[in-house]
Assembly symmetry: C2
Homo-oligomer: 251 residues x 2
């Protein structure tokens, strides 16, 4: 039984997110488990670094699974890719330590949220971008974002209101990148709550629109109330960019 670490890229547009939950059947995890279980000849569980929402994309989701496989790792990667639909791909596959777990060993993650600043419809990016159709004061958004950097209780930015678990997380950095008419906001932190990046982005967009002020940001954090924060930006603009593991893969 070997432990395999894989990096996955997917267009989440037509899926119910990464993880199977209750009745949802159409998840990325499920597609992978079906294919890998079929190759293994027995039920294999695939562990992701974390859930991605329905409609959210991944440039590099990390997952791992334990399997007996007599062929080479390249043959296994090819065999999985051959059976995956064209909107999911294994971009790398390697054998790893038995103790590696894609979620428990993760040290940090980067998510990117992409906003369209153009006046004309973003024809070729429309599936991976949010076009809010309003003029945004991105300078103000950049200043507001700095308030979120650091260790905070992000309860106001958590869609799951009834969670009993800690809602404290640390954001190491929020950076703004401009690529033509696209604005990419990259969030780098030790972990993110359910819909946290989308709610942070929605709040920043409301600052950009003038609906909220920079000075409101601290009060929103302190409120520990989802109602205080802005709207939840659409899933399709969100991309899990990278999952980071420490030295020796975080063991």
């Amino acid at each position: 039984m070997k432990n395999y670490k894989m990096i996955l890229r997917y267009d989440g547009g037509r899926y119910d997110g990464w993880q199977k939950q209750g009745n949802t059947e159409n998840t990325i995890q499920q597609r992978l488990e079906e294919i890998i279980s079929c190759l293994a000849g027995c039920k294999i569980e695939v562990f992701g670094s974390g859930r991605t929402d329905a409609g959210t994309h991944a440039w590099a989701q990390t997952a791992n699974f334990h399997m007996c496989w007599t062929g080479s790792v390249d043959e296994l990667k090819l065999a999985i890719n051959e059976q995956l639909p064209e909107d999911i791909a294994v971009v790398s596959l390697e054998e790893t330590s038995d103790r590696f777990h894609s979620r428990l060993s993760a040290k940090a993650k980067t998510y990117e949220y992409t906003i369209w600043l153009g006046n004309e419809p973003p024809v070729f990016w429309r599936r991976y971008i949010f076009w809010c159709k309003k003029d945004l004061d991105t300078q103000k958004m950049e200043v507001a974002a700095r308030v979120f950097v650091g260790r905070h209780d992000f309860k106001s930015f958590c869609a799951n209101k009834r969670t009993k678990k800690s809602t404290v997380r640390e954001i190491y950095d929020i950076s703004f990148r401009y690529e033509g008419r696209r604005l990419v906001i990259a969030y780098h932190g030790n972990g993110f709550l359910y819909q946290m990046v989308r709610i942070l982005t929605g709040t920043l967009i409301e600052v950009g629109e003038g609906k909220k002020e920079i000075r409101d940001m601290e009060a929103i954090i302190l409120a520990k109330d989802r109602e205080a924060a802005g709207f939840t930006a659409p899933a399709k603009g969100l991309m899990l960019k990278e999952v980071f593991y420490g030295e020796g893969q975080g063991l």
Copy 2:
């Protein structure tokens, strides 16, 4: 009655090409004519710079139409964009000379064909790229492409075998650009026959695969026979990049 010149961007994936022909109903031209005719209150014809095949995309197709419109040109552009589906956009609209005709005044065009050179599936580009899943000798392809530059009878590269019209065209340049694992072949010429760019690309891919040799290219041109050339590369990799008009818009 004013003459409007517009630049259009579209994802051709779900359309039967630019132009209505016979029974095809689902064309880009038709969508535009419906919307503009509705705004005008009478039947308006929209002239494109040329047809694009079913499934082919446009970064900048040029079209023109004659219309009575009392509002500003920006209002007209907005009104059209508001009614267009999200895979078609008017990126610019301006009033132009009465004598301007998007097809007759066109002096040159650039088409780009994008090929995926990676080993993993091109998840986010899959709709706009051709992945031939074979190792390509792109050096050989670059040398072979030079044979096509110049004024030639491109009958071997025309899908319409029964055409009575001249099949002589001039290709000013064919350039290769590498963007990560994407190879973009840009064809710049005074005009292109039906499926000519896709057949040229298919022929170059066959050179890259070793199925054809560089020395075969001249014989393929001289054969004036579609059977001599390579396969027709898929429509989805093709993009009409730009249409050029001379000084004073080619009048």
